[in-house]
Symmetry: C2
Subunit: 200 residues, 2 copies
């Protein structure tokens, strides 16, 4: 294979969402495009150079903006904070159109039970945000991270660290997902759906 293709596969297959096989298909697809279309994609790609992180919540923002569009939206309530793992989780959460607070992105969970320096820094940022900008008190903290063992561990850490700031600290409810079939439901989910059964 020409080295341009090899290099593309080498570099792009390291991206978490792309595997080597998909990257190979991608490289061939792109190489086969009319050069005009490829150049367009290149320009679109280049646009990402204008994006960086919101210093308050770590969501994405345009380079020339101070805060992201969520943090700078005056109609939202900054005393309601949803803690999520990743920036894409914000997008997912916004789709339900029920939450009018701000987000805080952890960037990672406490994998293997370890709170590493990056996670420590984020915790410190959130302490600072609440202490300095919000006056040491918030209305609610929603821990919107995955219901997994690592998520549970991280959620407990968050409760210990940030519980003092609010009377309401919650996690997303657990149970059967929409359309689930009992036959294919794992025991943990079933247990939660049983314990949290709804009498309404």
């Amino acid at each position: 294979m020409p080295e341009e293709i090899k290099r593309f596969i080498e570099y792009f297959s390291k991206i978490p969402t792309l595997g080597p096989r998909q990257t190979t298909r991608l490289a061939f697809y792109l190489a086969d495009l009319p050069k005009k279309d490829l150049t367009n994609l290149l320009k679109v790609f280049q646009g990402l150079e204008n994006i960086d992180q919101c210093p308050q919540c770590f969501f994405i923002k345009k380079r020339d903006e101070n805060l992201c569009r969520i943090c700078s939206d005056q109609s939202r309530n900054p005393y309601n904070i949803a803690i999520v793992e990743k920036a894409t989780d914000v997008i997912t959460f916004e789709k339900i159109k029920k939450f009018n607070g701000n987000y805080f992105i952890l960037g990672k969970l406490a994998e293997k039970g370890i709170v590493d320096d990056e996670l420590k820094k984020r915790f410190k940022k959130l302490h600072n945000l609440i202490d300095k900008k919000l006056g040491g008190r918030v209305e609610e903290i929603i821990i919107a991270i995955s219901p997994t063992p690592i998520g549970d561990f991280t959620a407990n850490l968050i409760k210990k660290e940030f519980g003092k700031y609010t009377p309401k600290i919650s996690r997303l409810g657990r149970g059967l997902p929409e359309g689930a079939q009992l036959e294919f439901t794992d025991e943990t989910t079933l247990l939660f759906s049983f314990e949290k059964r709804d009498y309404n």
Copy 2:
């Protein structure tokens, strides 16, 4: 979302191997990279501008090469031709290290039983290649396209069109894939594996 991200998702999610959800994750991942790493990826991407198609077999080649590295490899036998659907199939086929001939890429199969203009052009190219460059006679044609109804239809077309050039025109063998479990094997596969049972 900043328009740079929206535009990235809009353009890149049209690429067949990428869905909108994966493209969103990809956009966020790339936007969060250190700018140095993003610029590197951009350069690697740009390298694809130096790639085009081999005029003989339609595999990829560097722009300044006349033929791809397979067609220009003198140690290979051009009178043995494997017909494949896609350029990536060449990569897959080369992995078994058993085939020392050349390839010919169709670009598509006769979907819905229709031989459209693009496919007609490829057929014409292959006629030309065999008639003019190879003297109207080849040793073997291996039809290495998928064992699906569309693949079967296309393979029969190829046999009619190109069978006259060679005493040996074959398709890849059908049967149980390695590691298959009978319980989960579809009936068509099972039927083939029964009909092609091996007494050795």
